[in-house]
């Protein structure tokens, strides 16, 4: 790995961590698509900043983009509160309009210069190492590292200082209001910090990766834990891991780094979706199956109790007919009941054990 590779990966890890910190709250507050909206809506702001500064300039691009982000949030809220347009539709009106205006400006007036529409979508983190921070003639090393380091620091401070407030406002807005800090203020603070982070990450990784890194690692963590602090840690970890493995994938395929990082966030999410012991699909299916078998074992002992002494009713082969179970399911239900010590096999028949009888009494009394 060369130095410039390290710088690219380092930038990626910084962006991923900064985004994941905020993403956790976006996902928990069910407003993940605001990340999508803001990341697209800042484009015209960046273009106007570019135009005002006669070229790429960090500060003016930053101010323009932050202004555009705030306009987007305000416009969405205005539409939603006018009650003419529903929640998702309001977002779906505002950000495409702003993004379309931005691309119109880019393709009309800046088509041959530094800005181009593809970079808007997937950035150019590949060149992170060639973009130096120069102050008063002194070169201070790669600029993206500084910018994203500052973003990460800002977000760490924000989440660290307001952790309790964010937590209460997210899980119990009523309590937050009762305790005297306004959930609305927390909402706007979060949106502002998010806009700034998006702007910082935008030039490096484009609109789409910002969305991927804000939402996907946080959602991955949400499937893995029920504790907020653990969730934040896991989200940062998933994001950083995506940045590293995504870079490796991109180099192997000679493809876009941002795209590969976004793809890797999806891979980790897919793994958590399937295999999370807590909320994964496999664990869920297994839990359902166990529940089904437990219920089946209960119906089995009740059935046996109802027909005690009747040889024909207690035959294993008879069960599938009587309780309308498949032969396979009947076998498994019998095994489950056996394991729980509720029944015993006696030749091809089943009889209740003492604990089976007491289980029947409990079931009947409830």
């Amino acid at each position: 790995m060369t130095t410039s590779d390290l710088i690219v990966v380092g930038t990626g890890v910084l962006i991923a961590s900064a985004c994941a910190l905020l993403g956790v709250f976006l996902v928990l507050r069910r407003m993940a698509m605001m990340a999508d909206a803001i990341s697209h809506a800042i484009l015209p702001g960046i273009v106007v900043g570019y135009w005002l500064a006669h070229g790429p300039d960090l500060l003016s691009g930053f101010l323009g983009a932050a202004a555009a982000g705030i306009i987007c949030v305000a416009a969405v809220e205005a539409l939603q509160s006018s009650r003419r347009v529903g929640g998702q539709a309001a977002i779906g009106i505002v950000f495409p309009a702003m993004f379309a205006f931005g691309t119109f400006l880019v393709s009309r007036f800046f088509a041959d210069v530094h800005l181009d529409t593809d970079a808007v979508l997937y950035g150019n983190i590949e060149f992170a190492a060639q973009d130096y921070l120069v102050v008063g003639g002194t070169v201070f090393g790669p600029q993206p590292l500084y910018v994203m380091g500052a973003m990460l620091l800002m977000n760490l401070l924000f989440v660290g200082i307001f952790f309790k407030e964010l937590k209460i406002a997210t899980f119990d807005p009523g309590l937050a209001a009762a305790l005297g800090f306004s959930p609305v203020a927390i909402h706007y603070a979060l949106m502002t910090v998010m806009s700034i982070t998006t702007v910082g990450a935008f030039s490096a990784v484009g609109a789409i990766l910002v969305v991927a890194l804000m939402i996907v690692p946080a959602a991955t963590a949400y499937l893995l834990t029920d504790r907020l602090s653990t969730m934040i840690g896991l989200a940062v970890l998933a994001g950083a891991l995506s940045a590293i493995t995504g870079f490796v994938l991109a180099v192997a395929l000679n493809a876009s780094v941002a795209g590969a990082i976004a793809s890797m966030t999806g891979v980790y999410f897919g793994l958590a979706l399937l295999f999370s012991p807590l909320h994964g699909l496999v664990a869920r299916a297994r839990r359902l199956r166990r529940q089904q078998l437990r219920l089946a074992a209960e119906s089995l002992v009740i059935h046996l109790a109802n027909h005690e002494g009747d040889e024909a009713e207690s035959a294993v082969a008879h069960l599938s007919e009587e309780l309308r179970w498949s032969a396979d399911f009947a076998q498994r239900a019998v095994r489950t009941a056996e394991r729980q010590g509720l029944i015993e096999r006696q030749g091809s028949h089943l009889i209740l054990t003492a604990s089976g009888r007491s289980a029947v009494r409990t079931l009947r009394s409830t």
């Binding site: 393709s107 997937y122 876009s256 793809s263």
Partner: protein, 295 residues
């Protein structure tokens, strides 16, 4: 002059027909999406179509439009099913699920797109026009393909109109009457995938979301009846589509997608402000008069 060009100029005629078709189909299907409060569904599905286009090209090596659109439809549909599954079976809400499908599928699409373009394959040129759309590249057979797809989608809406209407406005009642609301949901989502596929060439994956939301939101301001809303919505969609495409084709260096969306935004803003019953300005005037009458 423009009118005779529309009729006789090959490119302009295809562009106008193609974008009008797109507007009609997405106007109708977008209305259902918006009324069901799924305004951003199209955003996720259109982004999910990108890897499909690239995979279809990588696997077959052709740029035949039907093959690429089939690929787009397949990954778009996979994205849709994944979305429904995540929302149904996990505690992740719809907003996050949309963002997940959108960004990861699109990210993967970008990986494929850059992978293809760096292989120096002479044939690859032009896949990236699916990002922002390029109506000028529409040819007659593309328009025919779009027309067939659109006709199929509209026929299905016509056949299931009552079911869709009920499932949209009162899903619980629909379920209690024995309609398979889950299956209706999948059917409607699949139709939206078709609308997205139709829009890929003209508007592109990035801005397709607005094509499904805008006409419906504008139409909603003018009427409270579903049938009227569908007609108005497709009219607005077609108008924006044709206007945007015309500007983009006749002016140099303007991608079609953004121009269509800007025309559409104009229609939406005018509708929200000036529509006779729900318009904000009319509303303001009415309140002002009411206040005047009271005092």
């Amino acid at each position: 002059m423009i009118f005779s060009d529309l009729l006789f100029d090959y490119t302009l005629r295809n562009v106008a027909l193609g974008s009008a078709l797109l507007g009609i189909v997405s106007g109708v299907l977008g209305s259902f999406a918006v009324l069901r409060k799924q305004g951003l569904l199209g955003d996720a599905l259109s982004h999910a179509a990108l890897p499909g286009i690239c995979l279809a090209f990588l696997l077959t090596g052709t740029r035949a439009i039907l093959v690429l659109l089939l690929g787009a439809a397949i990954t778009g549909w996979i994205g849709a099913l994944l979305l429904i599954r995540i929302v149904r079976d996990t505690r992740i809400d719809e907003d996050a699920a949309l963002g997940i499908v959108l960004s990861t599928f699109f990210g993967f699409g970008i990986v494929l797109l850059t992978f293809i373009s760096k292989r120096n394959d002479a044939n690859q040129a032009g896949l990236d026009r699916y990002l922002f759309g390029q109506a000028a590249a529409l040819r007659e057979e593309n328009v025919v393909t779009m027309a067939i797809l659109g006709a199929v989608a509209l026929c299905v809406v016509f056949l299931f109109y009552k079911e869709f209407k009920l499932a949209t406005f009162d899903p619980e009642f629909a379920a209690s009457l024995g309609f398979a609301t889950g299956r209706l949901n999948v059917l409607l989502t699949s139709l939206i995938v078709i609308a997205v596929v139709i829009g890929l060439q003209t508007v592109g994956v990035v801005l397709m979301a607005a094509m499904l939301v805008g006409p419906a939101v504008a139409a909603r301001q003018w009427t409270d009846r579903l049938g009227v809303m569908l007609l108005l919505s497709s009219f607005f969609g077609a108008t924006a589509g044709v206007a945007g495409a015309m500007v983009s084709v006749t002016q140099a260096r303007l991608p079609t997608g953004p121009m269509v969306i800007l025309s559409l935004t104009l229609i939406v803003v005018v509708s929200i402000l000036f529509a006779p019953r729900h318009g904000l300005i009319v509303d303001r005037v009415r309140r002002w008069r009411l206040a005047g009458a009271r005092s």
